[in-house]
Assembly symmetry: C2
Homo-oligomer: 161 residues x 2
């Protein structure tokens, strides 16, 4: 089940969030951010934030927001996180498919990811399978904790036919 | 002379700012934003904001901020605006050159522009002359007031040798 994230959902999800940003392998977020800063970033600043729940356990979460304003307001942006224990089960795929429906419902015409770390091959392949295209490569955009500087991709999908 | 922008500088610059966003030809900002929202966006949210002044008249302004956080914190982002009466005089060039120095001083290693409207040929050519490269094209990213949907470019420059 996918539903909107509550404050107490975020509290339950915080260990996953903190682990993901501390790893410094996928997200361009401050690895030392506080729970309160993370809540503002993930739940308050976006238009909406969702959780994917099974048997009352949160397996993943995503937010949706406009990627820019005014004349570029038709392009959405989403971020997805999956709990460590739930990886490889299609959670990210389900969330991304759902997010595209939400985006269309909110009137968005496209979706853009600004920072897909090139070494995150599972994500890159999944987004490609779901119709996203790499439209740009930012050289040495990401200081990967294990690998040092790696490139990031900008990925994009037009949501309307 | 280039110096930090004050609140009263912004008040003086507001007609230029309002005209540029209302034109919907270059900036992905809400064309109807209030002066207070614009001040927050241009002066409060960035790390620093500057004006280029000649004979006590503001000819242009730019901000600098990180383009992302944590592992991508080494990439800066800037936005530049030039007053209508000051165009074609090298104001944008001087501001961009200065912003690259400011970026290096602040510890940034690169600079990225996320939304250079493809039809803004003067800007695209200037950034290329100043060492920026188009690293990606976002299709139909910008609803240009005169031209309808046009592409936007992502431009990038590595600031260190």
């Amino acid at each position: 089940m996918i539903r909107e994230m509550t404050k107490s959902d975020f509290d339950a999800f915080w260990p996953t969030f903190a682990e993901i940003v501390a790893a410094q392998e996928t997200y361009a977020f401050d690895p030392n951010m506080t729970q309160q800063e993370a809540y503002a970033l993930w739940c308050e600043s976006p238009m909406a934030t969702y959780v994917l729940v099974e048997n009352d356990v949160i397996l993943g979460s995503f937010y949706i927001k406009p990627n820019a304003m005014g004349p570029s307001r038709h392009i959405s942006n989403c971020g997805y996180m999956v709990s460590a224990h739930a990886r490889g089960k299609g959670v990210a795929r389900r969330m991304c498919e759902h997010s595209q429906q939400v985006a269309r419902t909110l009137g968005f015409e496209a979706m853009q990811f600004n920072s897909v770390v090139s070494t995150n091959e599972v994500a890159v392949r999944l987004w490609e399978k779901l119709g996203f295209t790499i439209i740009g490569t930012i050289p040495k955009a990401y200081q990967h904790k294990q690998l040092g500087y790696v490139d990031s991709y900008i990925m994009f999908k037009w949501l309307l036919d």
